[in-house]
């Protein structure tokens, strides 16, 4: 047994590094390649009921080479067109986690059942998409809605269900509680942000607003993982700004069982997965840490 092995909700992972939703996971061949090149698992792009082209370009702004703001606009082929990509990705024989988004509990349940049928190893509920009822609010900031989504999806599928929460809220613990039927939390999604080009006198993204990701948001992600782990004790998948083995161990010591990698794929390329395993293994060795399990939440002070 390798010291990098870990597991999340019973799903065994060769290493703690999972490709985050929305990055290189629209095309089955790409997911397969990312898995073959070292990721322990991938999360698919968030898939909805119907086909969407997403926002007009620009859909990303780079910030300082390592961070970015994106507003892809939930482009996706619709769940019915996603079977072939799942099939191709699953040729890798590693876990493929299906991310889904919707605006009602029924939609989420329907999407999750189809993902399960496509062979997903788990469902990740993207609870950060815009929510029609509240103005400018996200599905994930309405505790009642979150509770009914998670409940409905748990009743509909047998595979583990992960609730991915948004940091753009006053009180994540309230939302985490509402989502407590989930098998694990995924923390965090992007932080709402904007970039203006002063020479064009205009926001860069066609949608004006987008989600900030990359090292910038790591301290925010660490905070939430720590706080939610300390208060709920539940399994957590950490995500936000991880680029190095130290970053990954910081999330794990804050309470994550494994982590997802998004923006670092831009700054470091797909090689990031091999690099992270190497760096993390080396630090663990020199710090005499025999297994990931041994240090999950190790930094939590009570």
């Amino acid at each position: 047994m390798n010291r990098l092995n870990t597991q999340i909700s019973g799903i065994r992972l060769d290493n703690p590094f999972i490709l985050a939703s929305g990055i290189l996971d629209e095309n089955g061949y790409t997911m397969k390649r990312v898995l073959d090149e070292g990721a322990a698992a991938v999360v698919t792009k968030s898939i909805g009921i119907s086909e969407r082209s997403g926002y007009r370009t620009p859909v990303v702004v780079e910030i300082d080479g390592r961070n970015m703001i994106n507003a892809i606009g939930l482009a996706n082929p619709g769940i019915d067109n996603f079977g072939e990509e799942m099939k191709i990705a699953r040729e890798s024989m590693k876990p493929v986690i299906g991310s889904v988004f919707g605006s009602t509990a029924e939609e989420f349940a329907q999407l999750s059942m189809k993902m399960e049928a496509y062979g997903a190893s788990a469902i990740e509920l993207n609870l950060s998409c815009p929510h029609v009822k509240g103005f400018g609010q996200e599905v994930g900031s309405d505790p009642d809605l979150v509770e009914s989504i998670v409940g409905e999806v748990k009743r509909s599928v047998k595979i583990p269900v992960f609730a991915k929460l948004s940091p753009n809220i006053s009180d994540m613990l309230e939302i985490a509680k509402a989502a407590e039927k989930a098998d694990a939390y995924v923390l965090i999604n992007t932080v709402k942000a904007m970039a203006i080009d002063i020479y064009a006198r205009m926001p860069v993204l066609s949608n004006s607003f987008g989600g900030l990701s990359g090292p910038c948001i790591k301290p925010v992600g660490i905070r939430y993982v720590y706080e939610v782990k300390r208060e709920t004790g539940k399994e957590i998948i950490g995500v936000g700004g991880i680029r190095t083995g130290e970053d990954a161990l910081e999330y794990i010591m804050a309470g994550a069982s494994c982590v997802e990698i998004g923006t670092a794929v831009h700054s470091d390329g797909r090689d990031i997965f091999k690099k992270l395993s190497l760096e993390t293994g080396n630090i663990m060795k020199s710090e005499k840490i025999e297994s990931i399990g041994e240090i999950i939440g190790a930094a939590i002070r009570r």
Partner: protein, 249 residues
């Protein structure tokens, strides 16, 4: 986002213009930029000159490319880059095979030693054939209004390819595939500049991928050897939504 002032605009064909601007950044033939038209869109465009004075050569297809062709001297051009893996440079004779606006990315490779097959739908759309200096020029048009009527293969099959150190190919994927199939039988060194939908330009959105490689990062230049192993090349691609469609030839 960077910006620069347009210092010259050149009409190349009725639908294609070349926009010149100063940008000190080092860049190599085959690399591209993401050009932004505020309020309209952002699109990938190859550099058609890679000196201190850079240029892009743009064909008007839709809102963004059209807006770029409307830029005037003194306008501001917004962009980011350079992105992508460039063409390999070789010394000695080379052959360029360009289809339509595909000649844009090949232009910086033109030397006295390069022969070229320039193809287009019709004579007026033949791009940069006037720039081929020294080397042999083969013109090909769909309608026969100039040079050979047909496609680049009709020219290729008349040429002794052994003498070239490298063949560079850029054009619509259907053309690349035909040229690839033709050259695949031989031992010819060749590189292909591929075009697919690009949203991010920086290797995260997956919209430009072929067989798990991101055109914007691992490409957009691929060698013939790399293409050989690809399942998606010339066969399937994803639309803007991520829906898989089949290219039909």
């Amino acid at each position: 986002m960077m910006h620069s002032e347009v210092i010259d605009v050149e009409d190349n064909t009725p639908t294609v213009k070349t926009i010149y601007f100063e940008w000190k950044q080092e860049a190599k033939p085959g690399q591209f930029i993401m050009a932004w038209v505020p309020g309209t869109g952002e699109i990938p465009i190859s550099l058609s000159s890679t000196d201190t004075i850079k240029s892009i050569t743009v064909k008007s297809y839709g809102p963004a490319s059209d807006a770029i062709t409307k830029l005037k001297r003194g306008s501001r051009i917004f962009f980011r880059g350079p992105y992508g893996r460039p063409f390999s440079t070789v010394s000695g004779p080379a052959l360029l095979i360009g289809g339509g606006s595909g000649m844009a990315s090949l232009r910086p490779l033109i030397t006295k030693d390069t022969d070229a097959i320039v193809s287009a739908r019709t004579a007026a759309e033949l791009l940069f054939s006037d720039r081929i200096m020294g080397g042999k020029l083969f013109e090909v048009t769909d309608d026969g209004s100039a040079g050979i009527r047909g496609n680049p293969i009709d020219a290729l099959s008349t040429i002794d390819l052994e003498k070239y150190k490298m063949t560079y190919v850029c054009g619509p994927e259907i053309m690349l595939k035909k040229v690839f199939d033709f050259l695949n039988r031989s031992q010819i060194r060749a590189e292909f500049a591929m075009e697919r939908l690009m949203k991010c330009g920086i290797g995260v959105c997956d919209s430009c991928s072929v067989d798990g490689f991101q055109l914007c990062r691992d490409g957009s230049i691929f060698s013939i050897e790399e293409l050989r192993g690809m399942t998606e090349f010339g066969r399937t691609k994803l639309t803007e939504s991520g829906k898989r469609i089949y290219l039909n030839y």
